[in-house]
Amino acid sequence: MAVDVASVSAWLTAYAETIADHAAELTQLDAAIGDADHGTNMNRGMAAVVAALDKEEFASVDALLKKAGMTLVSTIGGASGPLYGTFLLRTGTALADMAEISGAQFGAALRAGVEGIVARGKAELGDKTMYDAWAPAVDAYDAAIDSGGDVTAALQAAAEAAARGRDETTPMVARKGRASYLGERSAGHQDPGATSTTLLLESAAATLS
């Protein structure tokens, strides 16, 4: 297995492409219960990440992830900038000084990243945010590793769990983020952040092994 600079770089590059492909869809989801910018936001941020990765050689995964996280913080703004930025920063920090990264270690790092999202955004399960995709995803990842799976299998499980979590946001009444302003009217719409989170994990499953 190799969660290394090359594969993590491939992951983020693949995610940037996926985001570009789904930008209009994410913005449309955000129009329904937010302010119609989530696709544009993520696209601007991920394009900047790809540009940053192209410019620099990274000695370690953690350096790369921190750079990517800082780039998101500095280019997205809105809610998703600090949240995705913090996620990558914390994930990177958790991987600092590791020569090789095991599946379990990567899982712990992802969980640290998600804890960063919670620390920043204070979302709880059922609030209809990206956390509703992240929480089941990291649980599924750990469960897959615990039952002997490799990183690919664990990320596959995580992406599937995220997709289920994403789908479950649809009936929810939002309690965090912009959608919460709609009250009951937020029900019946899929959360854009949970959607972009699922795409991130799908990209991971396709590129990391």
Partner: protein
């Protein structure tokens, strides 16, 4: 999408160039950081006042930079809060030794980005930073379990009043306390006749039939709390004023600054018709209009509609309101 723009991706950049060109006598613009500065910032010994938020709400915030109001405004992408780098740059630049107040509208993104900036600025430069978060929109339920209420019209009044206090030389803590007091005494509610279109999205955020309106909208094209049949100005005024009056509550004998705000696509003639209705409702409730503001000051791109803001005031607040202000968007006595 019908807009006077070039590439949607360049709207903010080009608007900042236009602002700089139109108001070079009062502001300068850091185009890399997308920050509008008061020409003479930093002012030694004066508390620095910074605000910012997504673009598309002009004149707020960039139009409120100048004597008696803000020292800097950070312009985010359209409807997207600025990033911490912008607020950090602004914080360092306007610090005249008396500390810096961040005026933040209560949106998850704005709050988080300003928080990160304050953490970083304190760590890096040692600048003392306090923040006030405005949350005056009664269309949103106030709750500990949600993101809370949005910051809307009160932000404009607060920037003026707190700007005057900072100009007087009050301390950071005093200015922050005053800001909190203004926010606590203000309430707003808005409605839309049409949606706006985010330039990069290219189509209206929501669709409204010709005989419908959205009540309880915010300033980002967020859909409102409810969709109602189009109603005359008199009914619209009641739909906005009644929830405000009941919320603080405001009552008989209170004095207020009454602010009827256009959302960007509504002409002044309609705002005056609305103000006439609002004033009658306040009269009926025994509330005195100490000062008023009618115009498009906190907008939502080309959305048609309006919001009403009431701020309960005492002599001190009225005095600060009346103090000289010289910004592109609000000017008197100077």
């Amino acid at each position: 999408m019908k807009k006077l723009i070039n590439d949607p991706a360049d709207v903010v950049k080009e608007a900042l160039l236009g602002i700089e060109a139109a108001h070079a006598d009062r502001v300068r613009v850091d185009h890399d950081n997308k920050v509008i500065y008061r020409l003479d910032a930093p002012r030694q010994g004066k508390v620095g006042l910074i605000s910012g938020g997504g673009s598309g709400h002009e004149p707020m915030h960039g139009g409120f930079v100048g004597l008696g109001m803000l020292d800097a405004a950070c312009a985010g992408e359209v409807f997207t809060s600025p990033v911490p780098d912008q607020m950090m740059a602004a914080t360092k630049e306007v610090d005249g030794g008396a500390g810096v107040l961040h005026i933040v509208k209560n949106y998850t993104g704005d709050v988080m980005n300003f928080e990160m900036a304050a953490e970083l600025a304190a760590a890096e430069a040692g600048t003392e930073v306090l923040a006030v978060v405005t949350d005056d929109d009664v269309a949103v339920q106030d709750s500990l379990y949600t993101a809370g209420r949005r910051g809307v019209g009160v932000t404009v009044l607060l920037e003026k009043i707190v700007g005057a206090a900072a100009e007087e030389g009050r301390s950071l803590q005093e200015v922050a306390d005053l800001a909190k007091r203004v926010n606590d005494n203000g309430r707003s509610m808005g409605m839309a006749l049409t949606s706006c279109t985010v330039p990069s999205a290219g189509k209206p955020t929501f669709d409204l039939a010709d005989d419908e309106m959205e009540v309880g909208i915010g300033i980002h094209g967020e859909p409102g709390r409810k969709r109602l049949p189009l109603a005359p100005a008199k009914e619209v005024a009641a739909l906005l004023v009644d929830p405000i009056l009941g919320d603080l509550p405001y009552g008989q004998g209170d004095s207020v600054i009454a602010f009827v705000n256009g959302m960007g696509g509504t002409p002044l003639i309609e705002l005056y018709v609305m103000f006439n209705e609002v004033r009658q409702l306040l009269d009926k409730a025994g509330i005195t209009v100490a000062r008023s503001l009618v115009g498009s000051y906190i907008t939502s791109l080309e959305m048609a509609g309006c919001s009403v803001t009431l701020l309960k005031v005492d002599d001190e607040l009225v005095g600060l309101w009346d103090a000289p202000v010289n910004t592109p968007g609000l000017r008197w006595g100077a």
